[in-house]
Amino acid sequence: MIDGLARAMLEGDRNGDGPAKGGDRRREIRGMESTGGDPTDERAFVAALQAGERVAFERLVREHGARMLAVARRMVRDEATAQDCLQDAFLSVHRAIGRFEPTGSLGGWLHRITVNACLMRLRANKRLAETSIDELLPAFDPDGIRLGEPRTEIRNPEDALEAARIRVYMRQKIDELPDGYRIVLLLRDIEGYSTREAAEMVGVAEGALKVRLHRARAALKTLVEPLWDELGTA
């Protein structure tokens, strides 16, 4: 998919004239920043968790559960499964808390456990199986020229109601992507993981992950194209 010249340019740039800077959208793992509390307090809290104190565990569920549930709701399509994933995640937390390094971010650790719990469920449902999305990808003629017309630019929603309607529509379209692509899009563009981290979580090579992210974004763009006809400014 990435052809020779483009690859050579990418690699030439990486090796030669300056480092490929981590993008303008690098961000913290979403909503999983440290609770902002006193670090010594967090250390004591982790120690209590590691000692198996039930009160500490309940506090963990109440303080972090909502954020983790929000992650699960993004990853799976229905509420019941999201709640099951959250249960799985907290069982993993219970089993693994002894291995948690108190120097690390508790929020980041919980986020990753939640994502992994969701991936396990999705895999168990065989929903990560590859489905072709070729017909949603851009097309080129034999000379490598893009087929199709330039589209008008999309305008911003006029009011909150329209914005909300668009979000519902977007969510539907994201959910239409086959899971193998949808998950990659979520991990990279929404959950804030790097290519390397996302590749590790999904269990594919980094190059394969990049290709999948590209296909996911391109397919989603095609899926939401009716919005352009509706919202495009002439």
Partner: protein, 108 residues
């Protein structure tokens, strides 16, 4: 039916596809993610920029591509703010029960 304007693009594109150092749209496509994610080095970025200056189809394509990526992020992260205070009580109870069962199994 092919308009004059379309014909002009076609010719321009055809030439560009054959000039060394310039990208075809297909080669451009392979660089799109690295471009919008800010991961291209200066040379590759300049080449991509140049293609967009001469190719209105790709210029609009990238704008839409980037917009969809941003809209997806906005869509999926918005409900999070509302969800932060709300973890259902019965779910908390179920989680704690599962934890207790597990703890009980380990240390009888």
């Amino acid at each position: 039916m092919i308009t004059r304007r379309k014909l002009r693009w076609r010719i321009q594109h055809w030439l560009e596809a054959r000039l060394p150092g310039l990208l075809t749209c297909a080669q451009f496509e392979a660089l799109v993610d690295a471009y919008i994610d800010g991961e291209l080095g200066p040379v590759a970025r300049a080449t991509v920029d140049f293609h967009m200056r001469t190719c209105p189809v790709c210029l609009r394509y990238v704008a839409a591509y980037r917009k969809v990526r941003d809209m997806a992020a906005d869509t999926l992260t918005r409900p999070e703010a509302e969800a932060l205070d709300a973890i259902p009580e019965d779910l908390v109870a179920a989680i704690l029960a599962a934890r207790d069962a597990e703890a009980g199994r380990k240390t009888p």
